[in-house]
């Protein structure tokens, strides 16, 4: 259920749609699910995107976390667009089979300067009293008026570092932004994509007996997709590991970096992966008497094989479906911004590595 309207009449139109839905539910003898908005989600689409595509992408998110989605679509042909502003309700099926309204979708197709000034529209359409989250759909930037505005009006901005084109320059920007005290916190979809890898390694070293190996790691080998996204993923994962384990940059090497730990070196070696669809295919940590191989036997699993000269092989499995774009966004809504210092420190290290 959606209607075309104008920017000034958007919220009254939304209210009319809600009344209409309530009447229909009452006529059908059903109870309309009470409205509960937990967030305003501002989604930036840098290229023309159809209503149906935006709806398909946002519906799974609001189904789990009710919210008002404001989609700002950059469309150079807005003048020809039949419906520059549309509003609709997003319904999802409940566990009892009934359909329930879980969110609202408001889209505005804007061109040129109007798109750059989209923050004003987002601010006027936002639901009151709930956090505003921005889905930026691109890497962090200091060269975009809309991004600058969003840093002031939003509570959180979800960027995507896998779309970085120049790791050194882009991590420099991301590092500056996450360390600065803006109103909005910046979180990263790439950081969330790496969660299963981080989880797998953390889990492998939950065993106290294995923990001693962390102090003796001599090398980290990664099989990484040959792409800017793969490169950014490797930088962020190594940055995370280095920040957690107190490793510092010693120097750049032909295949990666040499890091300095307490009293010994840790060589990080990046090799091209053989699987095209994953950013990171394999990570191997080696210590003098043990090796930890994290790999993906299937697209849904990361397994860590722990091989020690002193103990039998053990396996740690982290079963996690590959995160879809809606899933990443939901994860950001539910957990983004938590443990921010870990993310900040990881980005700082990644920036140092990228600049070396």
């Amino acid at each position: 259920m959606n209607l075309t309207t104008s920017i000034t009449d958007t919220l009254p139109t939304l209210a009319r749609l809600r009344e209409q839905a309530a009447r229909q539910a009452a006529d059908a003898g059903a109870e309309l699910n009470a409205q509960m908005l937990l967030a305003t989600i501002v989604a930036r689409y840098p290229h023309p995107t159809a209503w149906a595509d935006i709806e398909a992408e946002t519906k799974p998110v609001v189904a789990a976390y009710p919210g008002r989605v404001i989609a700002l679509v950059n469309d150079p042909d807005t003048a020809q667009s039949p419906d520059p502003v549309r509003v609709g309700l997003l319904a999802a099926q409940r566990s009892d089979g009934a359909s329930a309204i879980r969110g609202e979708l408001l889209t505005a197709a804007l061109e040129g300067r109007a798109f750059e000034e989209g923050a004003a529209i987002a601010a006027s359409w936002s639901a009151s009293g709930v956090p505003t989250v921005v889905w930026w759909n691109g890497p962090a930037t200091t060269d975009d008026h809309l991004f600058e505005d969003m840093l002031d009006i939003a509570d959180r901005i979800l960027v995507d570092s896998s779309a970085m084109t120049d790791a050194a320059a882009d991590f420099e920007v991301l590092g500056d932004i996450v360390m600065a005290s803006h109103h909005a916190r910046v979180t990263d979809a790439l950081w969330l994509r790496l969660l299963a890898w981080r989880q797998a390694f953390a889990q492998a070293f939950d065993q106290p007996a294995a923990r001693i190996d962390l102090e003796h790691v001599r090398s980290v080998e990664l099989a990484v997709q040959q792409s800017p996204g793969g490169n950014a993923a490797a930088l962020l994962l190594v940055g995370w590991m280095a920040s957690r384990l107190g490793w510092r940059l010693d120097r750049r090497t032909t295949q990666g970096w040499r890091l300095a730990s307490d009293g010994h070196a840790v060589d990080v070696i990046c090799e091209p992966s053989s699987t095209p669809n994953v950013l990171i295919e394999m990570v191997r940590l080696s210590a003098p008497t043990s090796r930890y191989l994290a790999h993906m036997p299937s697209p849904e699993d990361i397994v860590v094989d722990c091989q020690s000269d002193l103990a039998p092989i053990t396996h740690v499995a982290v079963r996690r479906p590959p995160p879809t774009r809606p899933r990443l966004r939901l994860d950001d809504l539910l957990t983004g911004g938590a443990h921010y210092s870990v993310f900040q420190q990881s980005v700082t290290l990644a920036r140092t590595l990228a600049a070396a």
Partner: protein
């Protein structure tokens, strides 16, 4: 993480990679030994819960489950039986064949007589073999899912055969009821604490594993708006209801011995009561929370024998209709004596003698075959000290109520007053509602999933400490003793499918309250 109560993390340092990922700490390998492994609890709750943990990759890769029982059965038959049960009872439905195939490799069945030393010596040998095969590190959990009367003997024999101290951590899980009165609870605790250290003992009340019960703590201590008014100055009364629409479900013999006081009140309701009434703990550590629960249970005003009749009401259900189906009276149920005086309904008024709650009545009720299944904690606030709108509202306005719904339709609602639209100044109560289902579409884990994982992780926060269970028994003992001395030939009855006996309303009416409609 600990070995027989001793922290391991302190020796090896915390896992530096875990920071920021703390919510999914993986437990170490374990062997879970279930006494009563072929019984109902294992089939309906424990194995489905373990499977769902496996499904969410929360179990250690080296986990073995050993069901113990007297029935003749081999490992394969046991696995088949558990697959059927998990298909029927798991919240996630039919297990994924590939995942189940891997999971069932760790399921074993050991038949034996566990009332003799020989049975435990056999078990010891089996465990050594299974532990080597699965690389569990010798960590063991003994889960008592048998008839409660067997608990003392099993615990004693575990001690006598040295199974209370294993090569790794050893823990024991004891299902409720923890005794059938204070004396038997003290005996059971004495035996358990003689054989095991308290840090090894996990007394399980599955109510504490429910998300909404844990939410009571979050609501109280993660919100600044409630705690300042959570006391006698602002709260008029508290009602705690745990109502069931079901009857005995084949447990007539057990229920005849128990009654609702032992079955629900001494454990579930007392736990809800403690969570609502306790002081803020200094942190979220197990003992900090349990210390506060014990303190408030000890502050419950002791009922003298002659006060029981005025503060407590019991009854049993008569025939009636529940969910459109005719159901028999309690005394006509299988396993129930025709002249039974076992109560299926309980209502009471308690007071807490401490600074926070002095003078605030706590009304507790629970029963079987009531109008519907509903558990709720309702906090009724005081009336406004001076009503400005009395002219338009000559009968006054109803007080604010904060209701925490435990099940079903889990959530929280607040009733407050609002101006009715119009030219007058009519005031009407309106309800602001938070529903778990509406806000969080993700399905909650079953209570046993949470609790089994906590046992493996060594987290005792949601388990009942020795002094807690004893304090809860002390609170209800005057009632049990008064009933035992009261030679009634017949309890009052209530029609099945209703909200209990009429007399239960008198308990509140005298104080100017009434039971909430649920």
């Amino acid at each position: 993480m600990s070995i027989n109560g001793q922290a391991l993390d302190t020796a090896f340092g915390a896992n530096p990679l875990r920071e920021g990922l703390a919510s999914q700490e993986a437990p170490p390998g374990h062997t879970l030994v279930i006494f009563g492994g072929s019984g109902d609890l294992a089939a309906r709750k424990l194995v489905p819960a373990l499977y769902n943990l496996e499904r969410n990759a929360l179990l250690p890769s080296s986990l073995a489950v050993v069901g113990l029982g007297r029935r003749p059965m081999d490992h394969e038959s046991y696995r088949t039986r558990q697959l059927e049960a998990t298909t029927s009872f798991s919240r996630t439905g039919k297990p994924d064949p590939e995942l189940w195939s891997a999971f069932q490799q760790g399921l074993y069945y050991v038949r034996g007589d566990f009332s003799t030393h020989a049975g435990y010596e056999d078990l010891k040998r089996e465990l050594a073999e299974i532990e080597t095969r699965h690389g569990t590190g010798g960590n063991r959990i003994f889960y008592l899912a048998t008839q409660p009367s067997l608990f003392p003997e099993i615990i004693r024999l575990l001690g006598e055969t040295g199974l209370n101290r294993g090569p790794g951590t050893t823990r024991i899980v004891i299902e409720k009821p923890f005794g059938r009165d204070l004396a038997t609870a003290l005996d059971l605790n004495a035996i358990a604490n003689d054989v095991f250290d308290e840090s090894q003992i996990y007394r399980i009340d599955h109510y504490l594993g429910k998300e909404t019960v844990q939410n009571v703590l979050v609501l109280r201590f993660a919100n600044v708006i409630f705690e300042p008014v959570w006391n006698r100055r602002y709260i008029d009364s508290v009602q705690i209801t745990v109502a069931e629409s079901v009857g005995l479900e084949g447990r007539g013999t057990y229920y005849e011995e128990a009654g609702v006081l032992r079955d629900m009140v001494q454990n579930h309701i007392m736990q809800l009561f403690a969570l609502v009434a306790m002081e803020p703990p200094v942190d979220f550590e197990a003992d900090s929370i349990r210390d506060e629960k014990v303190k408030v249970l000890r502050a419950l005003r002791h009922l003298e024998p002659d006060q029981v009749a005025n503060n407590v009401m019991r009854a049993s259900y008569g025939a009636g209709f529940v969910d459109g189906r005719e159901v028999p009276a309690y005394r006509d149920e299988d396993g129930v004596a025709p002249d039974s005086t076992t109560e299926t309904y309980f209502a009471s008024r308690f007071f807490i003698d401490n600074w926070r709650w002095k003078g605030v009545p706590f009304y507790l009720r629970s029963g079987k075959r009531l109008a519907k299944r509903a558990s709720e904690i309702a906090i009724q606030f005081n009336e406004v000290p001076h009503l400005l709108f009395g002219d338009s509202n000559p009968d006054g306005v109803p007080p604010n109520v904060l209701a925490m719904r435990i099940q079903p339709d889990e959530g929280v609602s607040i009733t407050f007053e609002a101006k009715q639209p119009g030219l007058g100044m009519r005031v009407r109560p309106v309800r602001m509602d938070f529903g778990y289902g509406q806000s969080f579409a993700e399905e909650s884990p079953d209570a046993y999933e949470r609790l089994l994982l906590d046992v493996m992780l060594g987290d005792q926060t949601l388990f009942i400490r020795r002094d807690e269970t004893e304090a809860a028994w002390r609170a209800v003992m005057p009632i049990l003793e008064a009933w035992e001395g009261d030679t009634v030939s017949r309890l009052p009855t209530y029609e099945a499918g209703r909200w209990g006996p009429r007399q239960a309303g008198d308990l509140l009416r005298a104080d100017g309250f009434r039971w909430r409609r649920l």
